[in-house]
Amino acid sequence: MRGFILKRNIAWFVFYTALGGIVLIFFFPFLWVMFTSFQDAENAGAIPPDFLASPTLDNFRSVFEEGEFLTCLWNSTVVVVLTLVANLIISLPAAYIIARNRQGWMMFLILFLQMAPWITLLLPWYIIFKKLGLYDTYFGLVLSDLTFMIPFTIWLMLGFFEDVPVEVEEAAWLDGCSRMGTFVRIVVPLVKGGIITITTLGFMFCWNIFIFPLVLAGYDTKTLPVFVYGFMADNQLDFGPLAAAALLTMLPVIIFVLINQKHFRQGIAFGGGK
């Protein structure tokens, strides 16, 4: 009996050691960027590293002093919020209709839409957007983000809408509720879980997207990922400020997703990402 317990304890010890190793590999860059962002020019990136030496806020100061940072933060926020709202208004009704009249070819089309490489869409967009005056506008960036948000939202929401029993709607119609009213007041509240999931994933996709704003945003609407890229070119080997900029860029999206962790995990397990 004692031998058995000992063996089990050893098994758990091996398990947790391996677990620690896995966590370290996947989490270590985040620890590194956190510590490096607080180090002065002399210690950031020094070998051997001393992560606790002379902590300073200078790196963050130099990111904020760039001036552009706050503007880009604002731009990112505006684009993400507008995209998420527009996406729900456009995609929810469409997903509802498709769920109620499901057809195989529609699923195939949606899958196909998610396959087109972004760069091939960007080429014609650039010309079209310039011509229509959408270049370097919030509206243009929202449109570009909607291209991947709409198919993904419809794809994900189908299951949620199918779970709403038709009887519930029929009962509402009998009570004299219009179809519009039924949808807004009865069906949409029933798919709240799906809406939170799509908002969480959408926040992540739209916050993180780089290639669209890189081409379609000029000086006025530059978003944070594009700012980081530019900052990188300006501060080649200055690890401290670079780490601070990287950290500040991903902090909002990490916080937002962690708040909605459960829904995020469901969405990822379901859709397998973009």
Binding site: F15, A18, F26, F27, P29, F30, W32, T36, G45, I47, P49, I89, I90, P93, A94, I97, A116, P117, W118, I119, T120, L121, L123, P124, W125, Y126, I127, L143, L146, T147, P151, I154, S178, R179, M180, M204, W207, N208, I211, P225, V228, Y229, M232, L237, F239, L242, A243, A245, A246, T249, M250, V253, I254, L258, R265, I268, A269, G272, G273, K274
Partner: protein
């Protein structure tokens, strides 16, 4: 009914046409952002359109395509780089994700914390993380070589050498997405019925036998979805390569995505870039079709 106000009549109309009105906005947006641009792309691939000049583009038939197939040495090379990256990172993510999912398919203390920490790579902004990795991989100042020497390994030039740049980029991609494949496969493992496993244990099957004859076939729908999604995603990757290596050194990591970007916005050869874009679309379509056919023939129940 006759005395209904205009507003009521409007509502009535909306109700009768709800099918179309509800899907119309999505259809319009997708037509404008997908259908027309794709048409525009294909049209431009037959012209010598330039981004820099406003002169009218001339229809040059298949000249762009013959240039890309027969004259441009880098096209075939970048096609190979694109496939290498996509296949390499997909295989890495799936194998590592499967191994981790099998390892973690149990209940243990701290599971929630562990899962939360593993989500970080998926959530964090790829450009920011690419920047972090490029700092870590810096051959002179990067800490990766330092830690490796600690463990007794020699250093590497990582993304600064033509021989190691592709494995380095694949490594970052695998690091980025393995948590996701793991989460999907873990969800799959947890949803499997218990009976076949119990029966196999009673029959005295080895762990390897159980895995190949029961676990893998049962997980097949998950694996197929991941394979398709990850492969297509791998063929589209732009930001990691753009930030970490910029296609270099000596164009050794210039995938089709970067080559198109460079041709269009660097060299302003819009027509030629469009022809390259058509090729990339074609490759993705072809690979998806092959995968679907393969699934129908080999994996149907």
């Amino acid at each position: 009914m006759n005395e209904s106000s205009p507003a009521e009549r409007l509502l009535d109309y909306v109700d009768r046409q709800v099918r179309w009105l509800f899907s119309l906005p999505a259809i319009i947006v997708m037509l404008c952002l997908f259908a027309y641009p794709l048409f525009r792309l294909i049209w431009a691939s037959f012209t010598n359109e330039l981004l820099s000049s406003s002169s009218k583009p001339v229809f040059i038939k298949l000249a762009n395509f013959s240039r890309l197939f027969f004259e441009d040495d880098h096209f075939w090379r970048s096609l190979w780089i694109t496939l290498y990256f996509a296949v390499g990172s997909t295989v890495g993510q799936l194998m590592l994700g499967m191994a981790l999912a099998l390892f973690l398919n149990r209940q243990f203390k701290g599971e929630a914390t562990f899962r939360m920490m593993l989500m970080f790579p998926i959530i964090a902004t790829p450009v920011a993380m690419s920047l972090v990795w490029s700092m870590l991989m810096n051959p002179m100042m990067g800490h990766l070589n330092y830690y490796l020497s600690w463990l007794g390994f020699g250093g590497s030039l990582w993304a600064s050498d033509t021989a190691t740049v592709m494995p380095s980029l694949i490594f970052v991609e695998v690091w980025h997405w393995t948590p996701m494949t793991m989460l999907v496969l873990l969800a799959g493992l947890k949803s499997l019925p218990r009976e076949p496993f119990e029966a196999a244990t009673v029959d005295g099957a080895s762990k390897a036998q159980v895995f190949t004859t029961i676990t893998l076939p049962l997980l097949q729908p998950y694996i197929f979805l991941l394979l398709l999604m990850r492969l297509v995603h791998g063929l589209k990757v732009f930001d990691k390569i753009f930030v970490i290596s910029g296609g270099g050194p000596n164009r050794a990591s210039e995938s089709l995505n970067l080559m198109i970007f460079d041709q269009a916005f660097g060299a302003t050869n819009f027509g030629y870039a469009s022809a390259l874009g058509v090729q990339l679309l074609f490759v993705i379509l072809l690979i998806s079709i092959i995968l679907f056919k393969f699934r129908q023939r080999k994996w149907s129940y």
